[in-house]
Amino acid sequence: MLDEDEGCAVLLRVFVERGYRPVRDVRFAEGDVTFDIDGWDAEARVGFEYMTRHAGDHDDLTQEELGVLEARMRRGELFVFIVDETDIADAGELEWAAHRFLDEVQRRRATPEVSS
C-alpha cells in the first residue's frame, strides 16, 4: 500500500504527463461541496483525491458531498479521480489506472487531450 504522499506523487506525474496542470492541496468549494482536494486543475476541471483514513479524508469529503460530485461527473461538468488507499496494490497499478481514468475523461469530453 502506498502512503498519501507517494500516491499523490504518482498521480501528479501522470496528470502532468497527460497535459493537465493540477495544483496540489487546494480548497475546492462549489455549491454544497467543500473539501481540500489533493490535485485540481481548475481550468480543465480535472483532479484527483487520495482518500486515506489517516488524513481524515473520509470526514472531509462526506458521502453526501461525494454523491453530489458523482452526479456532476456523470453530467461531464468535472472529473475527479477518487482513490481509496485500501484499493492500491502498488505504484505501477495506480499509474495504469490513472491513465485509464484520463482516457475515460477524454472519451467523455470527446475532445483531444490537452496539449502540454
Binding site: 458523482e70 461527473m73 477518487i82 482513490v83 481509496d84 497499478e93 495504469w96 481514468f101
Partner: protein, 425 residues
C-alpha cells in the same frame, strides 16, 4: 604439640579415598534397594486395599451385602440398596438399547452403510474431477472479489471515477488472458458463466457428500451406542461388585487404620486384611526413617569427605601449601579407621531391612498389647532408637512386660513331659 607434614596428609587422604569410595558404592546400592523396596511396598499397599474390599464384599449375594452393610454401618451397601441401583441401571441400559433398536437407521444399518459407501465413492470421484477446475479460478488474483462484486454483470456497482473500477478491469483482463483460451471465450462474462456452472455443480456435490457423511456417522453412532450399552449391560454385575467393594474401601480409607480395625473387629477375615494394611504402613514408615538415618545421612557425609580429600590432595601439593604442618590430633581424628563403625551400621540396616521386608505374619499384631510392629518384624534384634516409637517402646520396658506376660502364660500350661515324669514317680 606434635605435628604432621603436608605430604603425610596427602598420603593419608589418598589412602582414605579408596575406602570412602567403596563405602559410597555400598551406600548407593542400599539407596537403590530402598527405592525398589518402596516401589514394591506401594504396590502391595494398593493390593492390600483391594483385598480388603474383596474380603468385605466377596459376592453380590444378599446375605453377604447385608453383613457388610451392617459391619461398616453403611446402608448403601445393603442388598436392597444394591439391587435397587442395579435394577435402575439395567432398566436405563435396556431402554437405551431398545431405543436404538427401534431406529430404522440401526435396523437397516448394513444396507444404509453400504448405500452410503457407494454414494460417497461416486461423489468423491465427481468432486475429484470438478474441484481442480474451480480451484484454478479461485487461484486467480482478486477472482473472489470480481465474482462477489458482480463484475461482468449488470449488477456490477463499479464507478469509472474510482480506482477500484480500474483494478477490477485489470484483473478481469488478466483472468481472461489466463483462462480464456482454455474455455475458448473472449470476455469475462463468459468466463464467469463457466466458473458459476462449475462452482455451483461442485457445491451441490459437496452438499450431497456432507449429507451422506452425516447419515453414515449417524448409523455408526447408533452402532457404537448399542455396543456400549450392551457391553455395560453384560458387565453390570461385575461393575456393581467392583463399585460395592470400592465403596466399602472408600468408607474405611476415610478412617485411621486403628479406627478401621475397630470397625471391622466383628469379622475376622477383615481384621486380618486391616492388620496387613497396618503392617505395610509400618514397614513404609520404618524403612523410610532407616533410609534417612542409615543411608542418606552417611552418604552425604562420605560425599563431603571425598570432596574434601580431593581438594586437599590437590592443594597441599602446591608450593604455597607444601610446607604447612598440621596438628597430630586433628590428623588422627580425621583419618581414623571408620570401617568398624560403617560395618556395624551396614549390618544393622541390612538386618533390620531384610526382616522388615520379609515379614508377612501380620495377624501376629495384637492391638491390645503394647508390642509394636518393629518388635514383631525384627524380633528385637536391632533397635533403631532414632525412631521415636521404637525408642519409647524399648525405654518404657514394654518389651519386658510383654515377655513376662508370655512367660507367665507358659508357666500355666502344664508340660506333658513333666506330668509324665511325675506320674512315673
Amino acid at each position: 604439640m606434635s605435628t604432621v607434614r603436608a605430604d603425610q596428609v596427602v598420603a593419608a587422604a589418598r589412602a582414605q579415598q579408596q575406602s570412602l569410595v567403596m563405602e559410597k558404592s555400598r551406600l548407593d546400592a542400599q539407596a537403590n534397594r530402598h527405592a525398589e523396596d518402596l516401589r514394591g511396598l506401594n504396590q502391595e499397599w494398593a493390593h492390600a486395599w483391594q483385598y480388603l474390599g474383596e474380603v468385605l464384599v466377596p459376592t453380590l449375594a444378599a446375605p453377604t451385602l447385608d453383613a457388610a452393610a451392617q459391619l461398616l454401618q453403611l446402608p448403601p451397601l445393603s442388598a436392597s440398596s444394591i439391587a435397587a441401583a442395579m435394577g435402575a441401571e439395567r432398566a436405563r441400559l435396556q431402554g437405551e438399547i431398545d431405543t436404538v433398536e427401534r431406529d430404522p437407521l440401526f435396523r437397516d444399518s448394513d444396507v444404509v452403510l453400504n448405500e452410503c459407501s457407494i454414494h460417497l465413492a461416486e461423489l468423491e470421484s465427481s468432486i475429484g474431477a470438478l474441484a481442480p477446475a474451480v480451484a484454478e479460478f479461485l487461484g486467480l488474483l482478486y477472482w473472489d472479489e470480481l465474482i462477489a462484486t458482480g463484475y461482468g454483470t449488470d449488477a456490477y456497482p463499479g464507478k469509472w471515477w474510482a480506482l477500484s473500477y480500474y483494478r477490477h478491469w485489470k484483473h478481469a483482463d488478466l483472468a481472461g488472458e489466463e483462462l480464456g483460451p482454455k474455455y475458448q471465450v473472449q470476455d469475462f462474462a463468459a468466463l464467469r458463466a463457466y466458473y458459476e456452472r462449475d462452482s455451483e455443480a461442485l457445491h451441490a456435490l459437496q452438499v450431497s457428500q456432507a449429507e451422506w457423511q452425516a447419515k453414515q456417522q449417524a448409523v455408526e453412532f447408533l452402532q457404537q451406542q448399542h455396543q456400549k450399552a450392551s457391553d455395560e449391560l453384560r458387565s453390570l454385575e461385575v461393575r456393581t461388585l467392583t463399585a460395592a467393594r470400592a465403596r466399602a474401601v472408600q468408607h474405611l480409607a476415610a478412617l485411621s487404620l486403628d479406627q478401621a480395625l475397630q470397625q471391622v473387629s466383628g469379622f475376622p477375615p477383615a481384621v486380618v486384611a486391616v492388620k496387613r494394611l497396618m503392617g505395610l504402613h509400618a514397614k513404609i514408615e520404618y524403612l523410610s526413617k532407616m533410609y534417612a538415618e542409615w543411608v542418606a545421612k552417611p552418604l552425604a557425609q562420605i560425599e563431603t569427605m571425598i570432596a574434601k580429600n580431593e581438594r586437599d590432595i590437590h592443594k597441599l601439593r602446591t608450593p604455597k601449601h607444601a610446607h604447612r604442618v598440621f596438628s597430630s590430633d586433628d590428623f588422627a581424628r580425621r583419618f581414623r579407621d571408620r570401617e568398624s563403625s560403617w560395618l556395624k551400621r551396614r549390618h544393622n540396616y541390612d538386618t533390620a531391612r531384610s526382616r522388615i521386608v520379609a515379614f508377612d505374619d501380620y495377624d501376629r499384631y495384637d492391638p491390645t498389647t503394647e508390642v509394636i510392629w518393629w518388635s514383631l518384624m525384627t524380633d528385637d534384634c536391632v533397635k533403631a532408637r532414632y525412631i521415636p516409637e521404637v525408642d519409647a517402646y524399648y525405654s518404657s520396658g514394654a518389651r519386658h512386660r510383654h515377655d513376662d506376660a508370655v512367660a507367665s502364660v507358659a508357666d500355666e500350661i502344664v508340660d506333658p513331659t513333666t506330668v509324665a515324669a511325675d506320674d512315673i514317680s
